[in-house]
Symmetry: D2
Subunit: 234 residues, 4 copies
């Protein structure tokens, strides 16, 4: 059983080499008499520090379109179908997700345990046994000839899924702003945090932008504040 209990795993599998140079070229093209080819091949474009200075200025003026030129891709596994249903609501993102129609479960399906359940050992034990019962019934259905795409109607939100997910840096920052907020559900918050950490590992300059929205706004715009920032009216 234990090998079927999954935790989220995230790795950054694709990004362009020359991220800062490309964004620098995009920023400068808007305000320069030089062509983007000339800018791209200039010494400044190759100087990470100069590039960063310009990029920081442009982003802080809210001109996020210049960082759309960079797209990053993640391999994600060990998240629940509840979490993936939330994630795919972000419409500026590309997804390739494991299909429950085409991938038939052959044994106990992998699943996720929410922390509130995990820390209650009695409840957690029952939860795991229940996942086992669901698995048995799923297998009974497929053995009786019910196609996988219909047998999956009994699979729970807890079922683990995996996906390849790509988005540009503007969208990554937008999603971080929304989903790192403590009002977001713990699982998607954890996932987005892991994605941000992966990106920051190779692109540390992005750290200051991959924050909850209250850090960007200077105030909390939620109904109830977690206390990190005051609400607007205060």
């Amino acid at each position: 059983m234990e090998e079927h209990i999954k935790k989220p795993e995230v790795s950054l599998i694709s990004k362009p080499d020359n991220m800062l140079r490309t964004v620098y070229t995009a920023c400068r093209t808007c305000y320069s008499a030089f062509s983007p080819e000339e800018i791209y091949n200039s010494d400044n474009a190759r100087d990470d520090e100069k590039a960063l200075n310009l990029i920081r200025k442009v982003i802080s003026s809210g001109h996020y379109s210049t960082i759309e030129h960079i797209q990053v891709s993640f391999a994600i596994s060990g998240i629940s179908r509840a979490c993936s249903h939330q994630l795919v609501r972000h419409r500026h993102v590309s997804f390739s997700q494991k299909s429950q129609r085409y991938v038939k479960e052959k044994e106990q399906f992998d699943f996720v345990i929410p922390p509130t359940i995990e820390k209650n050992s009695e409840i957690c034990e029952k939860y795991k046994q229940f996942m086992n019962k669901i698995s048995d019934f799923y297998l009974e259905l497929t053995n009786a000839g019910i196609p996988a795409e219909d047998a999956r109607f009994v699979l729970p939100n807890a079922t683990s899924t995996s996906m390849v997910v790509s988005m540009n840096l503007r969208e990554l920052i937008h999603i971080a702003n929304l989903r790192l907020c403590t009002r977001a559900q713990y699982e998607i918050r954890t996932l987005i945090k892991m994605m941000c950490d992966e990106v920051i590992k190779s692109e540390p300059w992005l750290k200051e932008y991959l924050v909850p929205k209250c850090e960007k706004l200077g105030f909390c715009d939620e109904d109830k504040s977690c206390g990190r920032k005051q609400q607007k009216d205060n």
Copy 2:
């Protein structure tokens, strides 16, 4: 129990009054020396038949952008979370969906039965009993203080959901082309068919466009053909 077994229900709750007139104005604006205000107030724009003749010509040349000006909204209920997870993958659509985080189930949750299970009475009986067992365990969790957002991890794909869904006519035609194909899963195919029928009831001119992609292409581009159209290479 029986009152918790749901079938899809669809109603068209919002559309603009003057659909043809607006699309006619959009089509003519591209090719006319008159202003869109003048076109909109012309006799031709009020003449449904003339408007339709132009619109048909423009659509058949593939200029779908002119029908983006019309958006329609549907109230949908009685579909599974499996189906809604597929539906929200369409990224040019607006969704407001019943939240499993905020709406706590107080009794047996509503659910959907796939036809392959429904027509096997023995299996179907077990399926309903199993939905009952899941409900009991969900209630046990919430009664033990597990928050609804985590207790829902045991709820199955079969759980019924409802949503308000809006899209423009270009996207509706695109979705119909994809999802009316017999290779689409039965539930989303049924749902999209109901949405199309609702629209056609009040806008019959759309009937010829709300068809599977093979009707538009003239051939089947799927791996396996259902026989409606031949594959391209034949």
Copy 3:
């Protein structure tokens, strides 16, 4: 000549009848055990004041997705091609624009005069004469057999254009936030103001949302502030 000098004209040509009722239904669907059909047909959904109370709460929490269900369409004329080039950069909007490829100018083309030029009578006179010279050369080219799509290479940014433009309320608010800022160019600021005014005329509840971004943020995030709001660091 004077009849070829254009000023922007905007009219709202399409919107759904039951705007508040549809948005109310969308908002309530997320948090309710009732189906959207039931909500839509409830007394509350028909009560504009109750609907508005809920909608205001939802928008102020940043849940703009619920107002995507409403799309509005405008007929626009008398704007420059400079302005339309800016406008079509908004990618969540649908456009049908007068084509310079297919609509051949037969006499003096219509054009726009920027206020800085208009208020300098000597310069303005020269500007108008220059538009006339451009027109003469355009006609010389088309008379010499150059196709309209190539002759238009001599037409200036000042050339007047018209278009049908549709967007949902979320995007309208977003565009208002950006383009009502005094840092936006005067022409697009004027145009967006006219579009907002047209909408507010029939939907006065939207007035408080159709404001420059600094009103929403509580501070100015531009390089230089016009003084309406202080910059963040102050």
Copy 4:
């Protein structure tokens, strides 16, 4: 003068290293019990030929979402503002364009000559002289204190512009399908052809997809056919 006559220049400035490996991982994730991390690190994912076989199968079934994971960026210069106005109508693309508001012309502006004008030497001479007259009047305006953002109202569609442009492979194929059609204007057709050639140089496997739409459809869906493919009804 001659150095201000521009021709389009295109270079591919950014793409991810491991294009095939990432797309392969995305394709396999949908149908596999393995996690995307496992797939990405498998021998097959590193085998370009195996990867390509799978990718070709998936694309030919119309599942273009898997190639959205790859984004490419181009530096473009020497195109007219007429061309850029068409290009920015593609709404799944990211643009950073040279601003006519912020970049003031200090001498003769750069411009493009359409081939129909270029090949008529008498007309072409007049065209160049006219560009010179426009430049003189532009400089007269800015010298008189008219801001660049308003003086540019006299600049013609012929004015050369430059931009950084990024899109994913699905969108690139879509744009190629539309704009390589002989019904597209010569300038954007030339530009898109150059962009495709740049991509094909480093990713030759894309060649078969970067074709006019009639090659994909098997027939011409335009009003008038150029003869490459027959119209549908024949």
